[in-house]
Every structure is written in C-alpha cells, then in structure tokens.
Symmetry: C2
C-alpha cells in the first residue's frame, strides 16, 4: 500500500494513496497520523491495507491526490539515522583527499544521528542563509521501522522494515570539515531533509525489493537535466536491514524510526569513478561526488554547490516508468 | 510550575505536580501529553499555570505523586541535542591523552545529535549487554524549547527556554573511540538517556536561574555515596541559551526540542583537576572524569565503569534542601 500525510497541523493527516498516485482516501478514522499508525502497526496496517484495496477498486470515494499537498510522510519523527551503505561514495571522498578507506568501513557501517524534529515537505524550498555553506543534495532511499528490540540481527531487522521512502538529505558541505574536526559528528551541516510525497510498503516494489535493498535507479535531476541515475541495488555494501541492526546494537528503536541508506552511488562500468549521465554514465546523487571526481581528474572541483534559484528533484520509477514514491522537487531559496 | 508525565502509553499522561513534589493533578484535559502542551505552549501554559496555583492552594483534588510513576517528562522527543558547556570536562579528556583543547572550543560549542526516540524513565534500570562497553553516567542539566526560528541569537534563544530538567546521559565509553575515529559522531555509544521525574519552568529556580544557567550543585551519588557536587553555575563556558542558538544556526527547532549542557564539571579550588567529594572537592558527574584525573596523576585509571548492580542517582536541591526536579535513580542491569 501507499500512504501519505496531507498538510494539516504539525503531523499531517493520514491518507491512503492509489498505486498510480492520482487519488487518495482519508484514513484518519483508522489512525489520525502516520506516527499513530506506526505506534500500533500490527493492528492498524490490515485496516489501511483494506482501504488501499478499496481505493484501487474505486469502491470508496476518493479525492484527487496532488503531491504538492503532501508533507514528508512523517512530517517530524522521533528518529532519523542515516547510514552510508554505498561505500563508493566514501571511497571517492577519501580518494579526493588522498586518504584510504579503513577496512572496517566494509563491515561496520558509518551512521550519524540526524535531526528529526522537522522535515521539509517534498515540494518545499530549501532555505539557505549563506551560499558559502555549500548547499548540496543527497539522493537516498530510507525505511521506516516498527518497534525494533535491542540487539536484533540483520535477518530479524528485515522484518521490522514497514515502509520505504526516498530522501533528499540536504547537506551544507562548507560546514562539514569544521564539524568533523570537532569529532561530535554532523549538526549544523545537516539542516532539514525532505522525504518523498508517498511512503510505500516493500511489497509495492515486487522483485525490485530484494535483500532489503531497492534494485532500481534513483533518478536525481538538477536544474531540469538528468544528474544521477545510480542504481540503489548496485554496490550496496550494506542493506537497509544491516543499517537497522547497526542502529539497534545498543538500544531499542521506537516505531517510526527512519533509517537512511546514505547517498546512492555507483562505480563506473570500468570499476573507476562513474561518468556523468550526459556521457552515458550513471551520474551522481549529490554534487560533492562530481566535485570529487573533478578533483581526482583535474586537481580541483569545477561544479559549484547549489545557490538560490537552483532546483533538484529525486524520484524512482518502476519498470513500466511509473513513479513509485512521487517526486521530491525543491528549489533553493535565500533565507 | 512543575510538570510530569505519568506512565501511560508511549507518551505518558500530563500532570501538574506540587512544588514539594508530593501531590499531582491530572492536566490531560488541558493537553493530553507534554508534547501536545509544548506544540501549543502560548495558549496552554496559562491554563497549566492556573492549575499549578490551584494545586499549591489545595483547591483541586490531588493524588499522591510518586516519582517512580513518572516517565521522562518527554518519554520520547523529536529532538535531543547535547552540548558541552563545561569545557573543564573536555580539558580533562584531552589532558589525559596528552592533547590540547583547540581555541575554537571556547567560542564554538561542541554538540551532538542524540537519539530521542525513547528515553528511560527516571527510575528505570539501565540495560547493559556487555560490560566491556564501559557504561558511564553523565549528570547534566537540560532545557526544553518551544519553536525556535533559524538563526536566533543567544539573547533571543533565552526566551525560547520553557522548561528545565536534569539528565543522566548514559554513555558507553568503550564504544566511543571507535565511533569518534569513524568521524560521524556518537551513535551506538549513546544509548537511551533518562530525565528527571519533573520538568520545571525557569521561574521555579528563583535567583538560581541566571544567565540561562542553573547556579546550584548537581548532586550525583554513586552506589549510595556522594560522587559529584559540581555547581552547574560555575565554569559554564556556554549557557543553555548559547547552546539553543548554536543548534538553531542552520535550521529551526521544533517545539519540544531538548538541549543539554553536557557533563557538569568544576575545576578544583586551585584551578587544577577537581578533588573527590570525600576529599572535600566538588567531585565528578561521570566516571570518565575521575578516570582521567587518575590517568593524569598515575598514568592509568583505577576506577572501573559501571556494571550490573551499580546504582547512580542525579538530583538538585534548592537552598532549603528541597528536591527541585525529583531524583533520577537507576540501577545497571544485565540485558
């Protein structure tokens, strides 16, 4: 099934959305918000699923679904933890500064605790106060869990993945080096992120959901041109289940925890740095990556970070070309 | 006024507590949960305050308040960000490993994004799976904000501090070096924290609330003996308002954001490392600190971290000796 939170108060109004994303039916009689549904998922999900079938069969009255009426599926969440499943991204970061990737990175995931107190809606502008902060997009996939006990294995964690979404994890690259140097991780360098208009259950992906990874290209467009087409099923060193298990090693996770994959990133066909989409490559899911490749090739980056007026979109389509999650589409605006 | 969340579902039931912490009156007719109250604070707070006055005047029926019936005031929160206001703590960490403190630490606060999806109740045991993880307490003060706009100054931030609490920020010291080395900050090394049974408005502190800092000793007991009596008003390089402003530099903060001070820590009377309480000093608010002082003195630490069976409490009393926030009191248990 497909769920969305229409704009309403702080936490939105839960609706079920048709598979083709054209219609919705209010589900707030079942659970007022998506968080409320997740808090009681085993009991509530069958009712939502029944409503979804009614929506698909046109047997309930529906409204027209407009993606710009949606908030992020969880407009605010109790947890947003972002991993780094695609080590190619990390390899490029390190290569660009002449460092190697520690061996441990291939079996112990990187993960940071992100701010979850307020997410941008999928069509909200990205407010930027200072261009020197180096505003970047990061196209990712993410899951929402139910309650996860402390110490679960990856296999057990897979069963706790209830919904999937896309993310634009907005990053302020200019603030990252200073924060990393302080050693306490990202904080000011990670302002509010935006999630796809719709969250879907894994079964919606059919065969494209395998091994707790989505085997489809993540379509990142930048200023209306294709920028990234990296396949989220390729070179995923860690699955979403691995990342959930990592997050739950020393503590339980509350229902509604969002765990992200990190920037989706593919190697080039020759195993080297990937080529731009315009040159037949899979491109990039963030600007930092093309800048690293420029640095490796030319000694310095030539693509600048985002500025007011720039536009980024993130989407994923099924084999038939239909949008699965709806589209994140954001302009950068001066704050 | 004083507020608590009695055990009830995931988010507790909001009650107003008498100044002397002996009685409570349900406030869920005003707002069902503390988060709901904070979401609409300007409208709701006067009603809560009127009820508090009725409780103080014995003009409403009250129940007996038992601290062990309380959850953390926000049993889960949309944000928990912990700063490092007491640089003495950082100086000792660095001194113990022969490093100096970067000059920037004195004007740019350290802050990490903590997990906020589930807090321990103030009398809950601390579940520990592996003694080698090096379980430690960290006694701290913390505030809860209303909605804070992006880019506020420290002066403006002070007005957004609505409630104050104590924290035991549980830390797994054995996992910290590995996580710091990875550069993404704390994650597995910071399991669920516990907050004081009661959250209070700043006016409850009278003159002890000045400059957005609480000028009272934080009483940390360890296995029923005084362990820390560091004054939270001394050597606070940053105030809670400074930390709120730091958190809001690149993004707004949602109502119900919790911002912590970091481990409260005082220098010794001679300006050097502080002495244990048993030797007339102010002692320590975490075990790591005494271990650092032992390392500086003897080349290695002699006090071990917490193990199942150990007990820690955190409390703060007013000038008359009355508990302000109630007591955090936790046993470590094998998980």
């Amino acid at each position: 099934m497909k769920l969305a939170s229409l704009k309403h108060g702080r936490d939105g109004k839960l609706v079920v959305v048709s598979k083709d994303l054209t219609r919705y039916c209010a589900a707030d009689n079942i659970a007022p918000t998506l968080q409320a549904a997740l808090d009681d998922w085993d009991r509530v999900a069958p009712y939502l699923d029944a409503l979804y079938r009614d929506v698909e069969h046109w047997s309930v009255p529906c409204g027209r679904f407009h993606e710009h009426d949606a908030m992020s599926p969880l407009p605010r969440a109790y947890q947003w933890a972002d991993g780094s499943a695609y080590i190619n991204h990390v390899e490029l970061v390190r290569q660009a500064r002449g460092a190697t990737v520690p061996e441990s990175f291939y079996h112990d995931p990187l993960m940071y605790q992100g701010g979850s107190d307020g997410f941008l809606a999928p069509r909200d502008p990205i407010p930027l106060k200072d261009v020197s902060w180096g505003c970047d997009m990061e196209g990712e996939i993410a899951c929402i869990t139910d309650d996860v006990p402390m110490g679960v294995s990856s296999e057990e964690a897979a069963d706790h993945i209830k919904l999937l979404m896309l993310v634009n994890d907005v990053s302020l690259r200019g603030l990252i080096p200073g924060e990393l140097e302080k050693g306490f991780g990202f904080f000011q360098s990670k302002p509010a992120s935006a999630f796809s208009p719709v969250a879907v259950t894994p079964d919606e992906l059919g065969d494209a959901w395998a091994g707790s990874v989505i085997h489809l290209p993540l379509m990142v467009d930048y200023n209306d041109a294709p920028f990234g087409r990296a396949n989220a099923g390729q070179e995923a060193t860690f699955s979403l289940a691995d990342l959930v298990a990592h997050a739950a090693k020393t503590r339980s996770l509350c229902a509604g925890s969002i765990i992200g994959s990190g920037t989706v990133s593919n190697k080039g066909a020759d195993g080297g740095p990937g080529k731009p989409v315009s040159e037949g490559g899979a491109g990039y899911s963030c600007i930092a990556e093309i800048r690293m490749i420029e640095t490796i090739a030319d000694g310095k980056p030539s693509t600048r970070f985002m500025q007011p007026g720039d536009k980024v979109s993130v989407e994923m389509r099924d084999a038939a070309g239909h949008s699965i999650f709806g589209k994140i589409e954001q302009d950068v605006v001066a704050a």
